[in-house]
Symmetry: C2
């Protein structure tokens, strides 16, 4: 059956130009070309095999990851890959590794927080991987609240050094990736103490291990924190624990771009604006949103392809059963996730623009859009990662029993993905930050200060409080301005209602705490509006390719009306729409699913994922699922012998009623 | 710090008698006594250790499970444990194993579908474990649709045998637990063919492996299907693949209680009612509901205890930070799950009664309540398993980053639990069955046929279509009859609306397919009503113990109002309540959370779980979390050496810029 493509029929049904859609998904023809080339490079290199990943013991898995990282670095050097190419290479290798933190956190931290001299000293070493670094912030007892960190960096003016120390068990650094076994250096966050005075948390470059024998330096205790969720998952990463016993570092290893300690121990704020830190946050969270669309689209690709292969019920006169993708229950769960993947892709592309915009403004000392950009990225990080984590698991369930097999790729994808809901800001904590910004925006509405960017609609609050949805028939819901108004009105009314309820409290912090669950809901409504509006804006661009724009319109409408259906309580309780209009939206949604159905396989083909990257038998390009599942089963280590190890000691004595004397 | 109980303060806050609550949770004083005794027995036996489970390779894990199963069976014999005690013992051992299928499916299948002679022949062998059996139904290409199975059992009248055969790859048996490596026998489901005629799917007892050397018998291919979700998880189970190449079994190994094949090859329906099968389904699904409350309560216990230990933000004047359990956002996610655990417990206890009732009726040839009982258990299986799977993952997120560590117990709990959403009836397929029953019920309303049991409220449909919720202030939502009416009205109105929309279709099957997503929502509304109403009925019983009933009232109200809040769109769009009343429900909910707060730790203590069973550092009874986390980390195999295996080959050449010549 090799060579047969079981999805041929599905692919021929597509009503749009898949190659053009690939460009839209990638962001540009150039990005598509690079990512496609790197995807194939990884897929064709045996050294990057990953189909045995879930069968390895922790030690073997970890060692295998070290091997892949070394091989990747070798290839990067040999092929003289650009930074962009190297980054795509790592993306397709698709295994959490210490290099993620070295390139993603350690290098950016030095770039963002180091002085020019510090950058000149450390970056060349890091760029050549002569040192390997990680980002040691989180502690055993301190995650979300960075200001609560306990590690201390006490300035000793006699020796011109900082003394880095872990005063308590809970101050142990805990979680940093790459820390446990690999990193030679770390950016360590610690409370700066000079003359007995606490100056808050700052970053310090600390060497952890000898560059000669890799042993921890004196006063330093390091280890791995142990097994995490999933078979492979993040167990290829050495998330670590680190304790300091009065470790001394030279003064010039404090990252001093913004805040400096002089030779005399005096603390000086530099003329570089503190707000730069937020610019970095915007950058990091923008990549997280982009990763969300990658992870969700990958799960959706697997579930969509398998839903077209799998058949259950509905056989007529002994003919084949119905493809499960033809069931409305399947469509109503799967297609909104397909639409979400595209929605997150576009909002991610827009965030990239936002980061550039913010950076340019910061360089021109314009901080005016920073709070809005910060709230917006915090909210979108929260929204997209939560939806993606849930969406991956939903895709797994949509594959029925076989989704539970590691060979489906979905359990691993879920286990690797879920920490995104917690790292770089717990999703609920982030929504509360958004809510705080929304409440501030509402409170300033009367003051003449115009809300900017994604909160600009709040400027029309008077209209939005009393507008009436004009929908009279199902097709009216296809009108982007109707959708936009409904989402704006819902968000504005929820924020205003929260603000009104808050105003009843004498102590506004108490009120904020008491009403926090409602505030989170208002923040979600605002973030969903952003995603919907950016999808609509995308459709206002010129999009070439036969039928491409039409498909995106369908997906945009599915995304918006699916949200409307799922959060219909918000829309009804704020009076933004009527029950009748809600029912019409639902009716329109069914019709949109029918329109998406023939294009479903082509819409996931447009992600341009190799079988290697998908790492899923259920999602393989040719759809030849069952023979591959069957063959894969025999590779499990327990199938090495027909009679299992343990039969003589444990099974036979049981069957032969000889357990009484058995040694167990 | 040994001996300190960090939850002492929390426990002293409790406003009720925890020991009495333990009895309510267990169901009776006797059950509490037995389960408590077995829980301690397992916890105190080193042979049942499971803290190293996630670090074992697949082969070691599997072998370790064989050892535990043998040890358990030895203890059962030595201590002459009763069936009930043995079953609790296995519950606390808490590791999926072939014995689950032997006792839970193989034995019941023979009991339920075997003739008296067959039972006399096979059951004694199974009871003594002289044979080990599994339940071979699902095939590689056939899960939900049992009638689509492809395996054949063709009667050969010459030899008086059945020929069991796998005609296609997709007919390979796939998934049965205990099949891959351990079972000597199986109940195999296959299409009965006599004289070229297909008589549908029936069960056959087939010996798979030699009782002498455990090798598969001629014509039989067996293996394990490979790795599944999670580190340990279900990988301790040998879910298997099985192919038959014209395997012959004597005629008397077809399970013939209901349907018989004579020596001449004639097919005869016995006088035993077919409906008995549904009685078994009610039994199996009732145990699944009971398991849901166990799994959810376990996750809630871990998250609640850790939420009282963990502190983030809110430090004042350098004092301790705020316990995260004091945040409303934490409460609004955690306490509804705590309430759900209790709700599922009570509906599970009621299902036990229902099963007894149905069985007695069946024996008296009264089939009148069977369809309703069948729909009800199918719906409750779906509702409780979906909510539990989601709830476990929510509890994991509620523990922040540390919930991602295997030592939190939550990743394993999730990985082991999620298949419950798929096995024994996919949850969406089951809801469609409930919907079908509801539509039938609605269609018969005019006919004078009174709906029974959990659908009795449909008899009051005329009232329910027009009743108005009487709530005027938040406290009104504490009235059970107000809650019940709102849930009944919502469910009735959703079902009636579906029925009306269905009637617009000329072809009712087409209509059912087209509207299936709406029908699923109506089914969910009906099932939620059942859980709420059974919780309310529970509170009408006499419940002894200081403050116990009061706490249960609070939990019941939290459960109902949380559902109302989450599904407020249903209530509003059907006009069952007004936006103002929805807002009052939300207000009341906040007040209920405040009331539950001081009792939270005691409410999870009432589950009476040992630290061994919880298998979670975050959930340990004494709350001494951080030192235990720290100590556990060092036990990971990668910490056996300070410098990791692979340093010389992969890390050092990278640091020393010598990769070019390295062999990778």
């Amino acid at each position: 059956m090799e060579g047969i493509d079981y999805h041929d029929g599905e692919r021929s049904k597509a009503e749009f130009d898949v190659e053009e859609m690939k460009i839209v998904w990638a962001g540009s023809r150039e990005v598509l070309e690079v990512s496609d080339r790197m995807g194939r490079l990884v897929a064709s290199d045996e050294a990057f095999r990953k189909d045995n990943r879930t069968m390895l013991s922790r030690k073997d898995l970890f060692k295998n990851t070290l091997r892949k990282a070394a091989h990747a670095w070798k290839r990067i050097i040999e092929l003289r890959l650009s930074e962009q190419e190297a980054s795509w290479l790592r993306f397709y290798i698709d295994e959490p590794a210490f290099t993620d933190l070295h390139w993603g956190m350690f290098v950016p931290a030095i770039k963002g927080q180091g002085t020019d001299e510090q950058q000149q000293k450390w970056l060349p070493l890091a760029y050549k991987m002569q040192i390997i670094g990680c980002y040691a912030q989180t502690e055993l007892g301190h995650g979300s609240n960075v200001q609560g960190l306990e590690t201390t960096a006490t300035f000793d003016s006699q020796s011109d050094e900082f003394v880095i120390h872990s005063p308590t068990l809970t101050s142990s650094k805990w979680w940093p990736g790459g820390l446990g076994k690999v990193s030679t250096h770390a950016v360590v966050y610690a409370r700066l103490i000079t003359d007995g005075q606490d100056h808050g948390v700052h970053g310090f470059i600390v060497q952890l291990r000898s560059l000669e024998d890799h042993l921890p330096l004196p006063g330093i205790t390091i280890g791995d924190i142990g097994m995490k969720f999933g078979n492979g998952g993040y167990n290829s990463m050495d998330n670590g624990v680190l304790r300091f016993d009065h470790v001394r570092i030279p003064r010039d290893q404090m990252l001093m771009r913004v805040f400096q300690v002089t030779r005399e121990g005096k603390c000086v704020q530099s003329n570089v604006p503190r707000q730069l830190v937020y610019g970095t946050m915007v950058f990091v969270r923008q990549t997280i949103v982009s990763d969300a669309s990658s992870a969700l689209s990958r799960a959706v690709c697997i579930a969509t392809r398998y839903s077209a292969v799998r058949r259950q019920f509905g056989s007529q006169n002994g003919g084949p059963e119905t493809q499960v993708i033809d069931y409305k229950t399947q469509q109503s769960r799967l297609f909104p996730l397909l639409a979400s993947a595209y929605a997150f892709r576009f909002v991610g592309q827009w965030l990239k623009w936002l980061y550039t915009d913010v950076t340019q403004r910061l360089q021109a000392n314009d901080f005016s859009t920073l709070p809005e950009a910060h709230a917006c990225t915090a909210g979108l990080k929260s929204l997209t990662t939560s939806a993606t984590a849930d969406g991956i698991e939903e895709c797994r369930k949509l594959c029925g029993g076989h989704g539970y097999l590691c060979s489906s790729g979905l359990p691993e994808l879920f286990a690797v993905y879920v920490p995104a809901c917690t790292y770089e800001g717990d999703n609920i904590v982030l929504l509360l930050q958004v809510a705080r910004f929304l409440m501030k925006t509402v409170s300033q509405l009367g003051s003449g200060k115009q809300p900017v960017g994604t909160t600009a609609y709040m400027g029309r609050v008077a209209d939005l409080m009393q507008c009436c949805c004009a929908v009279q028939k199902a097709e009216d819901w296809l009108n982007p301005s109707v959708i936009l108004e409904a989402f704006e009105a819902r968000s504005a009314r929820m924020s205003v209602a929260c603000a009104q309820n808050l105003s009843k409290f004498a102590n506004s912090e108490e009120g904020f705490a008491e009403l926090s669950a409602d505030l989170v809901e208002a923040a979600v409504a605002h973030c969903q509006l952003i995603v919907v509006s950016k999808f609509i804006e995308k459709l206002e661009e010129a999009i070439p390719g036969k039928g491409v724009k039409r498909q995106l319109e369908i997906l945009c409408n599915i995304y918006a009306l699916y949200l409307l259906h799922n959060y219909v309580g918000d829309f009804l309780s704020t009076g933004c729409i009527t029950p009748k209009q809600a029912s019409l939206a639902n009716e329109q949604l069914r019709s949109l699913y029918a329109q998406a159905r023939p294009n479903a396989i082509a819409l996931v083909d447009a992600f341009n994922y190799t079988d290697h990257y998908l790492s899923s038998i259920l999602g393989c390009y040719d759809g030849n699922v069952y023979p591959k599942l069957y063959d894969a089963a025999w590779k499990d280590p327990v199938n090495e012998s027909v009679v299992p190890d343990g039969y003589q000691q444990y099974i036979r004595p049981m069957l032969k009623q000889q357990l009484r004397n058995a040694r167990l």
